[in-house]
């Protein structure tokens, strides 16, 4: 068999739940951001979840359990995929408002991983803006949720942290080692989780 020219990264898992104190009826969007050398070969690159409400009994987390399943092929670890999450929900007047943005890299190490992402939203530039945005229901949003996956230009924004989202990943790689990229063996919480099973 000829030496491989690409390596594959298969990611499955789910956006499990979120904690957004004070907010309810939220839904979640996700998209993958990856470098120029990456190509998704199978699965959904973007998705939108159902609206979920808090349960009346504790734990009062918002559970989406939204599956993600995507396979990438790549020639270069540079630009390793990141999952970008943005959570929306209705405000007092019923307008859809961004409740949180967040991003995390897909784990490098094969195995089961759980990630809790701290979410944040952009802030209004002034008090008056805040008031008008509250009235009009058009809070400041990122022009593109993908900006949270990049470092450039972030210095001009101000954000407020707001809530957490928990994601679990099951990561598999193929040919990564053959192409000369060494990864440490699977360990950490993911591996333990496996052992637990």
């Amino acid at each position: 068999m000829a030496a491989p020219s690409v390596f594959l990264l298969a990611v499955s898992g789910e956006i499990e739940s979120g904690e957004f104190p004070g907010f309810d009826d939220l839904y979640c969007k996700f998209s993958f951001v990856y470098g120029q050398d990456w190509v998704p070969t199978a699965g959904l690159e973007e998705g939108i979840s159902q609206i979920t409400s808090k349960s009346s009994v504790s734990p009062t987390t918002l559970v989406w359990n939204f599956p993600i399943d995507i396979t990438f092929k790549s020639t270069n670890p540079f630009g390793w995929p990141q999952i970008v999450l943005s959570v929306y929900g209705p405000d007092f007047f019923g307008h859809d408002v961004a409740r949180g943005y967040g991003a995390v890299h897909v784990p490098f190490v094969p195995g089961r991983h759980k990630r809790t992402i701290a979410m944040f939203v952009p802030e209004s530039t002034s008090r008056l803006q805040q008031l008008t945005s509250w009235f009009t229901g058009r809070r400041p949003e990122f022009t593109d949720p993908k900006v949270v996956a990049q470092g450039e230009g972030r210095e001009v924004t101000r954000v407020r942290s707001q809530g957490f989202v928990t994601i679990s990943f099951n990561v598999m790689t193929k040919d990564l080692h053959k192409l000369g990229y060494d990864l440490p063996p699977a360990e950490g919480p993911g591996a333990q989780g496996l052992r637990g099973f």
């Binding site: 020219s5 120029q36 952009p122 990122f142 450039e152 210095e155």
Partner: protein, 1518 residues
């Protein structure tokens, strides 16, 4: 038992003091006992004492475990200090009276059982003596007191106790128990240790049997110990010794210590405040900004800067005293000259004369002393020997001088003779030297007399001298003789003794000491002396009667001309001619200037006569001259270095004398001609003996002096800056202070400094320096002559550089990261080298390499290729700037945020609520704008709404041609006989109404995507259709900057759909309809994508660009339309189409780079411009006010500077006699310069305005450049012209030109060359904002701004607000345009070549576009068409002569021809191809179609090319 008792007593004794102190206290007032009897008290006391005693005894004897002894024991164990404490405690206790309870507790706690026992004991014992009682009193007292308390509390009824208590009894008066100091010391001594201050003997400090070892002596570095006073050190040592910790001592017996950490000089200078109340650190000091003379390392600091000082170095010339090219004669001549110089110098000093005079004076003085009052003054007597000594010395000196004089003279003569003989020998003369010996005759007799007298005097003196010496020696002899004699005697005695003693050895010793008998001195012989004197005089003095010889050296001799010299000499002279010399001036070992190179003359003198003014800042360290000699052209050798002394401060320019400084060089030169060479031995002798070796040497005459400033102040740096100014201590420490930073790189200097400063070579701090010095001075290691900034860079590289450069993958990644256009969006860079093909880089490399190579394929024209390259470079640099700016984000780029609604908007919003829900005339709503960054292919669509068209050309029936007047000035687009038979008039229903038929449809083609509307009918069709054309960005890059540089154009083509009967067989006619659809291109509208992008929407009626000749079509006449000033000429124009174009989704056009440009304009002017703009825009916010623009260099320039009358090409002026026609021609010429929007050429940057000459050179520009050039031409032609800044369709904000013709205003579109009257309905100019002339700007203050509704009279300030007014007059800004434009003449040959090449390319393309069908070219038609084209150009597409049309018809009668000429300005080939493609001529689908294509290129001056392309398709008629 007794001993126990004693013990107890002692213990009790110890306890005394506390209780006494208690009793010293004043009586307690609360005790209120009034009646007590003294006696009874005493008795009871005694009893009680006894009791106590017994009690104690009992307790002890019985050895009961009672609490008391235990307590006592505890006391004993305690230290005395604690006891004292207790006392104090007690005192306090007593002082603030205890509460009853406390008191009770205190007293009852310890002594519970005492009272009963005491009573019992008291009776038993009596025999205690008084003293004991007294001693023990305390104890009892305590008991008593306790009892007393008991009573107080318990109200005890016991009488005895009650009675026995009085104040006097309880209180014992005693002085304060105060320990004396000495006692205290004594006691402290027991437990305190005071180390002694005496020095500790070294032996104690060392471990036993060890000798102290001094590391310093062994050459190890020890460092400087911090200073600690000796006594302190001793104390410390003593203390450490006491603790027996020898480990604190080093091997040398000293306490271990780190080197002194204190710096010798403070790093931070102290700050002194001038003003009070402000902390010195915070005080601000104003310092004038100074120009850094950064290269000067001697910069003392801004505070010390006192300006430039000046050192004048005058180098007047150079004389070689020896040079390799010297001939033998030269050597001798130089020697002679040297000797002569010496002679002259001696003569000037005239030492001989001086000494002779002195001698005479001394002699006479002696004479007078002896002769006169000889025994008169004793002092004088004494001085006679001194005088004599003096005489002797002077005489000796004089003799030496005389001898020197004489030998000098002799050698001069000898050398001169040598020269003469040499000249005779070699038969030519090289030097102009001539020596004359002038004889001065003297009187023989007087001379002889003086000579003799001199000799006699000398003899006499010598005799005296000899006598004295003889006497002295005689004395010495006598004493010696005496000694000898006595010695002799003792010797003989000894011998006698020895004979008796018979001791051999001793005698031997004595014999060794045998003395020689002194020799008596000889008496001097007067004759001998005389002879000596005479001999000497002969040698060194002129003989009497001999004439005095005065040598005189002149340069009057003649040099033998070169022709008469032998070959060796000739070659020598030629060699000399080749040589030249110059001198470098080095200041602080840096070359500051050099003299001109001057040839070395035949006399080996070089005259420079140059004065160098050195502007210096600090006191110079060294001044050096380097003498260089150049031979021939190239080789330059350093002959020698001469150090010039730094002049004293008193040496000023003007007063400094020229000094001659000698130099010599040790270089060895051997020459193959007469020249003697340097460092080579040669001889004057024929046999080669008597060899001499001479080195190149010479003298530089120069002077160094300080310049004098303007006010007569010498420009001398302050003396403090001299080396003495730097404190020597600092100098020792700081290498930079002493030798300067440049010295640091000079190893020799550094080593010298290190030696001088006595740096400790063992100090680790100096290790690096020392190593460096040793290495460099030894020359063992190579010191790199470079400085590495990132030393460890190599270690961090993950692959070696070679590998990195070799790897294609890395290269690809690198290029992509650098955002190189070709690779910017390259996806999936392969992992393996082998998967990357070389092809990827080929294009890029080609582009990079062929940056300057003219790409003739695309441009076909050398000049345009050069310009394109130039533009490409400018573009790249601008893009690079833009790329940087692109990475600066604003909040709005990242975050969408609603803007705060202003009051007006809120009001409007309220008003909107009242609006009808469905208005009759709905308005377009503003769409949401999309930033371009997150778009991908297929997201962007171009919406083209084709509404209607007017005046479409109609088909011309065949018959009509005959009815047409043969020639009409009004209709130039005559129909060619082409209309086919299929569309025969009777068949057409329209024909009945005498109407020609046309079925136009519109096709939009953009990026080769084609959309078309349905077919409408008639010359004024109405489509009302929306077409969607997808947009693809280049390279899939949808960033703003990429979109801005899209150069694609939207072609909106109007076609006529023609149906042809395709039935070939008449029999089928009945059963079916077979038609073939053909389309004929009628005209087009081109709109660049960038225009749409920036305008967001384009809405209006546009003129359709219809070719001047449209075969088979004619134009309906518009009657009654009066347009322009020349109404006759303009009727033919005009087919119009109404369009609406927009982009879906709406894109946010890129903002111009946020940058402030620098400027050379006056600040006041700029402020005025800003104010003016603000005023204008506040009144009319929608109207653009333009005062300053940016030129090609990126500088802000005031706009009026662009307007200046300029000469149009003379060719154009000569072309037509009519002046009005000339104007049109000029406009056409300007329009022929290709249009290239700035946003394309300079992505992102706002408008750049190039001047007219730049524009003509670049041959590309947008509206402004065209307008400025046209306006300048019009002004140059004497017209009244203005620049209009306004808004037009489809360009958007643009510039037009306004002229005043015969009291009518005419608006010119500079990019098309068209002109419109002020009231022309179809004028593309929609709004007028500003008018600009060469000296003013007027802003439109009228209510309306469409040209038809405004007044162009700028003299009315109500209508036009001027920039320069009476309050701010025009300052006379100079134009930035050139004085005059020069034009290159048109190159007809190149045009012809270009023509054929374009033709070939287009033909190839058409064939390429028809891949499935054969493309046949009709050569006959092509040549016919080719003949038409020059005519079209000549008439500017207006009139075509009928002859040619007829000819075409005649020649091509069998064909159905449809075709048209396209006219374009020429920039490059691509637009031509696009234009031809868009017409769709190639799409004709008839099997037997033939094509004709002709190209004509007309060259205008300055390489402006007008291109005509005639395309036609021919279908043969059956």
């Amino acid at each position: 038992k007794n001993s126990q008792e004693e013990n107890l007593k002692k213990i009790l004794n110890l306890n005394t003091s506390p209780f006494f102190s208690v009793s010293d206290l004043p009586p307690v007032p609360s005790t209120s006992r009034t009646s007590f009897a003294e006696l009874s008290v005493r008795q009871r006391m005694r009893e009680k004492l006894k009791a106590a005693k017994t009690k104690a005894e009992i307790t002890l004897s019985q050895e009961e475990p009672s609490p008391q002894p235990r307590r006592l024991k505890g006391i004993r164990e305690r230290k005395p200090g604690l006891a004292l404490d207790k006392t104090v405690k007690m005192c306090i206790f007593q002082n603030d009276f205890p509460s009853e309870e406390e008191a009770y507790n205190f007293f009852t706690f310890n002594f519970d059982a005492v009272p009963e026992k005491m009573k019992a004991g008291a009776r038993k014992r009596n025999g205690l003596n008084e003293e004991e009682v007294e001693e023990e009193c305390v104890e009892t007292h305590e008991d008593e007191q306790e009892d007393e308390m008991d009573e107080d509390v318990h109200l005890v009824k016991d009488d005895d106790l009650f009675l026995g208590q009085t104040d006097e009894d309880l209180v014992v008066m005693k002085p304060v128990d105060c320990e004396s100091y000495t006692e205290q010391l004594k006691r402290e001594k027991e437990f305190l240790f005071v180390p002694s201050m005496l020095a500790v003997p070294a032996s104690e400090k060392m471990p036993r049997n060890m000798q102290p070892r001094y590391l310093e002596d062994e050459g190890l570095y020890t460092g400087e110990r911090p200073f600690v006073s000796q006594s302190n050190q001793n104390i410390l040592e003593n203390r450490i010794l006491r603790q027996d910790q020898v480990k604190w001592f080093g091997d040398d017996g000293k306490i271990l210590a780190l080197p002194n950490p204190i710096k010798q000089s403070s790093t931070r200078p102290p700050i002194f405040s001038l003003e009070e109340g402000i902390a010195p650190e915070l005080e601000t000091v104003y310092r004038k900004a100074i120009k850094m003379t950064s290269t000067n390392q001697y910069f003392v600091g801004p505070g010390d800067f006192q300006g430039m000082f000046q050192l004048d170095i005058d180098i007047s010339g150079l004389i070689f005293t020896h040079h390799p090219c010297f001939s033998r004669e030269h050597v001798l001549a130089a020697k002679l000259a040297q000797l002569y110089d010496q002679y002259l110098a001696r003569k000037q000093k005239n030492l001989t004369k001086l000494l002779t005079d002195k001698l005479h004076a001394l002699r006479s003085a002696v004479q007078s002393r002896i002769g006169g009052d000889g025994d008169g003054v004793p002092v004088a007597q004494q001085s006679i020997p001194e005088y004599k000594m003096e005489i002797r010395q002077t005489r000796r000196l004089r003799d030496a001088e005389q001898e020197k004089d004489r030998t000098l003279l002799k050698t001069i003569i000898k050398v001169w003779k040598q020269i003469k003989s040499l000249r005779d020998f070699q038969k030519f003369t090289n030097t102009p030297m001539k020596l004359y010996l002038r004889k001065e005759e003297v009187d023989q007799k007087s001379d002889e007399k003086a000579y003799e007298a001199e000799i006699q005097a000398e003899i006499k003196e010598l005799l005296e001298e000899c006598m004295e010496e003889y006497e002295k020696k005689m004395e010495e002899y006598k004493t010696e003789l005496q000694d000898w004699k006595s010695w002799r005697k003792t010797q003989s005695k000894k011998k006698k003794k020895k004979k008796d003693a018979n001791a051999d050895e001793e005698s031997e010793e004595d014999f060794g000491e045998e003395r020689i008998k002194p020799i008596p001195p000889k008496m001097a012989d007067s004759l001998e002396i005389e002879q000596q004197v005479r001999e000497k005089a002969d040698n060194c003095r002129r003989k009497p009667g001999e004439p005095i010889l005065v040598p005189e050296l002149t340069l009057s001799g003649s040099i033998t001309p070169t022709e008469q010299c032998p070959r060796a000499e000739v070659s020598r002279r030629e060699d000399v001619k080749k040589r030249s010399a110059f001198i470098k001036v080095l200041f602080n070992s840096k070359e500051v200037s050099r003299t001109v190179t001057r040839p070395i003359g035949s006399d080996f003198r070089v005259h420079f006569g140059q004065i160098f003014n050195l502007q210096i800042i600090n006191w110079p360290e060294s001044l050096k001259l380097q003498i260089y000699e150049t031979t021939g052209i190239s080789s330059t050798t350093l002959l020698a270095e001469v150090f010039l002394p730094v002049p004293e401060t008193a040496v000023l320019t003007g007063s400094a004398p020229l000094e001659e400084i000698e130099f010599s060089s040790d270089q060895r030169v051997m020459l193959d001609h007469e020249g003697v060479g340097s460092g080579v031995s040669f001889s004057f002798e024929a046999d080669g003996s008597n060899k001499i070796t001479l080195m190149t040497s010479g003298k530089v005459s120069s002077s160094v002096s300080w310049a004098v400033g303007e006010k007569g102040i010498p420009l001398i740096p302050p003396l403090s800056q001299q080396n003495t100014g730097i404190p020597s201590a600092l100098k020792n420490i700081d290498a930079i202070a002493s030798i300067g930073t440049s010295g640091l790189t000079d190893m020799k200097k550094l080593a010298k400094w290190a030696a001088e400063a006595k740096l400790d070579p063992n100090d680790p701090n100096n290790a690096a320096l020392m190593q460096l010095i040793t290495i460099t001075t030894n020359g063992e290691a190579h010191v790199p002559d470079f400085f590495r900034l990132e030393q460890l860079q190599q270690e961090f590289n993950f692959v070696s550089d070679e590998e990195f450069n070799r790897s294609k993958r890395f290269r690809l990644l690198q290029l992509r990261n650098a955002e190189v256009a070709e690779f910017r969006n390259y996806k999936q860079v392969p992992l393996h080298e082998r998967e990357i093909s070389e092809k990827i880089f080929q294009d890029y490399e080609k582009r990079v390499q062929e940056g300057d190579v003219i790409d003739s394929k695309n441009y076909l024209d050398a000049h345009r290729a050069v310009v394109a390259n130039y533009l490409q470079k400018v573009r790249e640099s601008v893009i690079n700037r833009f790329l940087i700016a692109k990475h600066h984000f604003l909040l709005s780029d990242l975050v969408n945020e609603e803007e705060i609604p202003s009051l007006g908007i809120l009001g409007l919003g309220l008003f909107k609520l009242a609006e009808p829900k469905r208005p009759l005339r709905p308005r377009r709503k503003e769409r949401k704008k999309v930033t371009a960054q997150n778009l991908s292919d297929g997201d962007i669509k171009l919406l083209v709404n084709i509404i209607r068209a007017y005046d479409i050309p109609v088909r011309k029936p065949v018959m009509s041609k005959l009815q047409q007047p043969s020639k009409s000035s009004r209709s130039f687009n005559e129909m060619f006989a082409a209309s086919p038979s299929a569309q025969s008039p009777p068949n057409s229903p329209d024909w009945a109404f005498n109407q020609v038929f046309v079925r136009p449809f519109v096709e939009v083609s953009f990026q080769r995507t084609v959309c078309r509307t349905t077919t409408a009918e008639g010359p004024s069709p109405c489509w009302n259709e929306e077409l969607e054309v997808p947009f693809r960005a280049p390279n899939g890059d949808y960033s703003t900057h990429s979109l801005q540089s899209v150069r694609d154009e939207v072609f909106i083509n109007v076609f006529d759909e023609v149906l042809h009967d395709a039935v070939e067989d008449d029999r089928e006619r009945g059963s079916g309809i077979h038609t073939r659809i053909e389309r004929h291109w009628l005209g087009c509208v081109k709109i660049p994508f960038t225009t749409i992008y920036f305008q967001a929407r384009i809405d209006g009626t546009f003129k359709v660009n219809i070719p001047p000749v449209l075969l088979g079509y004619s134009k309906e006449k518009n009657v009654g339309m009066e347009r322009g000033y020349d109404s006759v000429r303009n009727l033919s124009e005009g087919s119009y189409i109404t369009l609406f174009i927009t982009i879906e989704p709406q894109l946010i056009p890129g903002e111009s780079v946020r940058e402030k440009f620098d400027t050379q304009e006056d600040e006041k002017l700029l402020q005025a411009a800003e104010k003016y703009e603000a005023e204008c825009t506040s009144k009319f916010p929608s109207r653009q006010c333009l005062t300053t623009v940016i030129d090609l260099d990126g500088k802000t320039v005031f706009i009026t500077r662009y307007i200046k009358p300029l000469n149009p090409p003379q060719e154009l002026l000569d072309a037509v006699p009519d002046r009005s026609q000339t104007a049109e021609l000029v406009a056409r010429y300007v329009a022929l310069i290709p249009f290239l929007p700035d946003s394309v050429s300079f992505a992102g940057i706002c408008d750049l305005w190039s001047t007219s000459d730049q524009f003509l050179y670049l041959l590309a520009g947008d509206e402004e450049e065209h307008a400025v050039l046209l306006c300048n031409y019009f002004l140059g032609m004497g017209k009244k012209a203005w620049l209009i800044i306004g808004n037009a369709i489809p360009e958007g904000p643009t510039a037009y030109v306004l002229t005043l013709e015969q009291s009518q205003y005419v608006i010119w579109n500079p990019s098309t060359g068209c002109f419109y009257g002020q009231y022309d309905t179809f004028c593309p100019l929609q709004n007028v904002y500003c008018l600009i002339s060469c000296d003013n700007i007027w802003f439109n203050m009228q209510e309306y701004d469409s040209p038809g509704r405004i007044n162009f009279d700028t003299s009315k300030p109500k209508h036009w607000k001027p920039f320069f007014s009476r309050s701010f007059p025009f300052p006379g800004l100079r134009s930035i345009q050139p004085e005059e434009l020069t034009y290159e003449h048109s190159d007809k040959a190149a045009a012809l070549e270009l023509q054929s090449r374009i033709e070939k390319i287009l033909k190839d393309k058409i064939m390429e576009w028809r891949p499935t069908r054969p493309t046949r070219w009709n050569r006959h038609c092509t040549s016919t068409l080719r003949n038409f084209l020059p005519l079209l150009e000549q008439n500017q597409g207006k009139d075509v002569e009928d002859d040619h049309q007829a000819e075409l018809q005649k020649q091509l009668g069998y064909y159905r021809v449809s075709g048209f000429p396209i006219h374009m300005p020429y920039s490059e080939v691509r637009p031509l191809i696009e234009a031809v493609h868009s017409t769709g001529v190639h799409t004709i689908d008839v099997s037997n179609v033939e094509f004709a294509l002709a190209v004509y290129v007309h060259a205008y001056p300055q390489n402006v090319l007008s291109i005509w392309i005639y395309v036609a398709s021919l279908v043969r008629n059956r």
